[in-house]
């Protein structure tokens, strides 16, 4: 697999009209199936690699956001949602129908490394088989699972048996023999460093890791299926809080709100957008504080003071969120077309509490810099470990602080603006170190940027005329988006690009609801960072990825 970008005919920045793209692809396009967010080209299932290579190398679509798959009455379908890292508003969907009786489609893995896990998930849940895929196994469900849960003929009542086999050393068949010089080690699913139920199948040579394979799915709760069973208007909104449950709830809710509002063509009042922006950035601070805290835990060991200090700061912002939404973790605060209620009364008290928090924040950040980032041992441990070069990060679809720590200047808040972000003054943070230290630094600096955003929002909200405080647009009681409209919309979550793909079928529930989890794609890069490093570096790299298993497994 070559990660170098071939000399492209096009620099990628040029925006092409859908017709120009169709002309570029030529005979490969058999039909058009436009989505609300992007033109969609239907291609034959054996030309996936060819089509995606052309789009990637000649048209500059270098970011495969997500592969969403679904089953129709007469066919299976995989959709490759492509974007550009330079300009994510330029999108294109590649729609690949597969035969109903024999759903086989060519894998995109040789073109986009990130397709590996996404296609495994499509195989696991829907049942599409991908030709030329390097490792087509189930990913979320156990190996022994029978049937594909999101396919139409799935039998829910069939008893399932999940066995517990001994894991084999992938590099040596008999890892127990005396000659063997590698050791297979299961890290997790219950381990202090996995931040949840993640299982790393690790092969060690002494203390060095020569192979690590993340095994996910322990926290799979069928979130997509549950969303498909809920109505657009009210029943879906509580679920996003439970994906990235590290208090990033409002950011997740915004992902659903944005997709559904664009799907149903709902205009959100400006006042509500400001409140949303403020709340979302509070969530980002809380999420990044926890990332900082647990990273210190991974590097310093338990008993570290940094952990409790960061948790204390998170607690302060958590209190603000509690005042705002009435909840501490599962906010359920956004509504389609606005938010559920206005700021808490008395407003002045809320504003002054928020300002107190913002005033104290620089001091805390300074203390973290004193405690960890300026510590020589800490630098020794994190600088130049867990290296993720920018091209590799892009190829794996890494987003958020992970990508920005590798110098990929990609932030949907600025590049694909929503909410009130484009009216405010703030910066996108990038660091060029590509290592564990850079990713930590990006998060710490982003906290300061979030604070800037919150401060401006508070200023705006304080001066907002009382009779213009409209928190909710007029939205029909029951939403029934038109049949066969499809949309993919993403927001900048705490961990990166959190996207939702919805296909409407004319009813009040989505026919397909697909979640693009940033952690899912980010976690895929772990082997790239970890192979050849020491065990402590793997732990550090995993900590610096800041994954939440609730979002990886959904």
């Amino acid at each position: 697999m070559s990660l170098e970008r071939p000399d492209s005919v096009d620099d990628g920045a040029v925006e092409r009209t859908p017709d120009e793209l169709e002309a570029l692809l030529g005979d490969l396009v058999v039909d058009r199936d436009d989505h609300l967010n992007a033109p969609g080209f239907v291609i034959r299932p054996d030309t996936v690699q060819e089509t995606l290579s052309i789009l990637k190398e000649q048209a500059g679509y270098d970011h495969l956001s997500v592969v969403s798959a679904q089953e129709y009455e007469n066919r299976y379908e995989s959709i490759y949602h492509l974007k550009k890292f330079d300009d994510p508003t330029q999108e294109v969907s590649v729609v690949v129908p597969a035969d109903k009786d024999n759903p086989v489609s060519e894998s995109a893995e040789p073109v986009f490394r990130t397709a590996d896990w996404h296609e495994r998930e499509a195989y696991d849940l829907i049942g599409i088989e991908y030709d030329d895929h390097p490792d087509l196994r189930r990913i979320l469900l156990p190996e022994t699972w029978q049937g594909h849960p999101l396919s139409m003929d799935y039998d829910k009542d069939r008893p399932q048996i999940a066995t517990l086999p001994e894991h084999a050393n992938p590099l040596q068949e008999h890892h127990k023999d005396a000659e063997s010089d590698t050791m297979f080690l299961n890290i997790g699913p219950h381990h202090p460093a996995t931040h949840g139920v993640l299982h790393l199948k690790t092969t060690l040579d002494g203390e060095q890791v020569i192979d690590v394979e993340p095994d996910i799915g322990y926290l799979h709760r069928s979130e997509e299926q549950m969303a498909q069973n809920g109505t657009y208007r009210h029943q879906i909104m509580p679920y996003p809080d439970r994906w990235d449950y590290i208090s990033a709830g409002l950011l997740n809710e915004w992902a659903y709100a944005r997709a559904a509002e664009d799907l149903a063509d709902i205009e959100v009042p400006e006042y509500a957008q400001v409140i949303r922006t403020m709340g979302a950035e509070m969530c980002r601070i809380a999420a990044h504080m926890l990332a900082l805290a647990t990273f210190a835990l991974d590097i310093n060991g338990d008993f570290t003071a940094t952990f409790m200090y960061a948790i204390n700061d998170r607690e302060r912002v958590q209190n603000l969120l509690e005042d705002l939404t009435g909840q501490r973790l599962m906010f359920n605060y956004f509504r389609l077309g606005g938010v559920v209620w206005d700021l808490p009364e008395p407003r002045e008290e809320f504003f002054s509490k928020t300002r107190d928090f913002l005033d104290q924040l620089p001091e805390s950040i300074e203390e973290y810099h004193n405690l960890i980032t300026s510590n020589e041992i800490f630098q020794m441990r994190t600088i130049d470990t867990g290296v993720l070069p920018p091209e590799v990060a892009k190829n794996y679809g890494a987003t958020g602080p992970v990508a920005r720590g590798s110098g990929v200047d990609y932030d949907l808040r600025r590049d694909d603006p929503y909410g009130y972000y484009d009216e405010l003054d703030w910066d996108v943070i990038t660091e060029d170190g590509c290592d564990n230290f850079s990713r930590l630094l990006v998060r710490m600096r982003e906290v300061e940027e979030s604070a800037k955003i919150i401060e401006q929002c508070v200023d705006l909200l304080e001066d907002w005329p009382e009779d213009e405080r409209n928190i909710q647009a007029n939205v029909p009681r029951t939403l029934r988006p038109d049949d066969d409209t499809e949309i993919y919309r993403a927001v900048e979550g705490a961990k990166g690009e959190l996207g939702i793909y919805i296909r409407a079928d004319g009813t009040d529930k989505p026919a397909r609801f697909k979640i693009r989890s940033p952690c899912f794609s980010n976690l895929q890069t772990l082997p790239e960072m970890a192979n050849g490093e020491y065990i402590p570096d793997v732990v550090a790299a995993l900590g610096s990825l800041d994954i939440v298993l609730g979002e990886v497994d959904r």
Partner: protein, 357 residues
């Protein structure tokens, strides 16, 4: 050498009760050993379930135990009952005699070290069990038996994390014991003896007098460079941050003690705490003038307690503040840095002492 060493505790008993026979010697020694052991066990009993929690909590903005008894002190008996009442889980495939012996060796070796440590006076009693001529060598020998226990535990547990912890313990102890002992030897050059009373006695003289306050000639003041080296190596020797890699909970779960529960777990923890206190005791004997301090000699036990607990506090502070180094970095610091520095210190001390004397 300074003043003549005071009468050792067992000799004091023999003289006081007039039991001057072999049997009397044995009985007196046993009584002395029981006293010292109980002092150390009391230290560990307070440190483990209570002081450690309170200290860590103070460092990390928490309150810790405060529900049972005044300042939560009754957590000590509660924890003892709780830990001992737990089921001892013996995993399948453990190497039985080794697995059972390992948790005994760790506290036992550390306790043995205290037999030659002068712990100061309580009134007329000099709490010091034995004062052989090779005292300093002996105490390091006792302290380093601990790594045998860690290897045994790591290997016998039939657990890969334990094995990694055991391997790390060996690598770490090899890398740090040499600088530790070489640095201590530079003190021996000053003192001219390995006998512990001699080493302590050499530190009783006054180094300088500033504004009426006389600074004693503790080796920490005489050779601060050696003191820092020794302190660092000592942290590695007892396996505390930044050198707690044999346990490294966020990496290898709990290292060599992963598979131990109940009484065995208690023994390991006890061993670790005794080891920290032994580290503090060695440090105070070699560099901080033993149990000496202001005031009459009859209360010098208090100074011993202060110094040992001060070292304990230091280890907890390091634990709360300092990141853990990686295993390869640790080995590098040990072999490439500390070893060279400690030999340089030894040679330099020898030259200086040779020229002056």
């Amino acid at each position: 050498m300074g003043t003549a060493p005071a009468q050792l505790f067992p000799e004091f008993l023999v003289d006081t009760f007039g039991i001057d026979s072999i049997l009397g010697d044995v009985v007196a020694s046993l009584i002395g050993a029981a006293l010292v052991a109980n002092i150390i066990l009391a230290f560990s009993g307070v440190a483990g379930p209570w002081a450690k929690r309170k200290i860590t909590a103070a460092f990390t903005d928490r309150i810790a135990v405060d529900r049972i008894g005044p300042y939560g002190l009754l957590i000590i008996p509660a924890a003892a009952v709780q830990l001992l009442a737990k089921e001892l889980i013996i995993p399948e495939g453990v190497d039985r005699p080794t697995w059972d012996i390992a948790p005994i060796i760790l506290p036992a070796s550390a306790m043995l070290g205290f037999s030659v440590i002068p712990m100061g006076h309580i009134g007329p009693l000099n709490i010091h069990l034995a004062d052989p001529e090779v005292g300093l060598a002996l105490v390091f020998a006792f302290a380093s038996i601990a790594s045998v226990s860690l290897v045994m535990a790591g290997y016998a547990s039939n657990n890969k994390y334990s094995l990694l912890g055991g391997l790390r313990a060996v690598a770490q102890n090899l890398a740090y014991e040499i600088p530790l002992i070489v640095t201590a030897m530079s003190v021996v050059i000053f003192a001219g003896t390995l006998q512990i009373s001699g080493v302590v006695g050499a530190q009783t003289e006054t180094l300088v007098t500033i504004a009426g306050v006389s600074i004693p000639a503790w080796f920490a003041f005489v050779n601060p460079f050696a003191f820092v080296l020794f302190l660092t190596a000592n942290m590695a020797e007892i396996g505390r941050n930044p050198f707690d890699i044999p346990e490294a909970p966020t990496e290898i779960v709990a290292g060599y003690q992963t598979e131990y529960s109940s009484a065995y777990f208690v023994l390991f923890y006890l061993g670790e705490f005794v080891h920290i206190f032994l580290g503090g005791a060695i440090l105070s004997v070699v560099f901080l003038g033993g149990a000496s301090g202001p005031g009459p000699e009859s209360i010098s036990f208090i100074w011993f307690v202060v110094k040992v607990w001060g070292f304990f506090l230091f280890t907890q502070w390091a634990r709360a503040a300092i990141p853990r180094v990686r295993i390869d970095q640790l080995i590098e610091i040990g072999w490439k840095g500390m070893l060279v520095l400690s030999f340089a210190n030894l040679v330099l001390t020898a030259v200086i002492v040779g020229v002056i004397a």
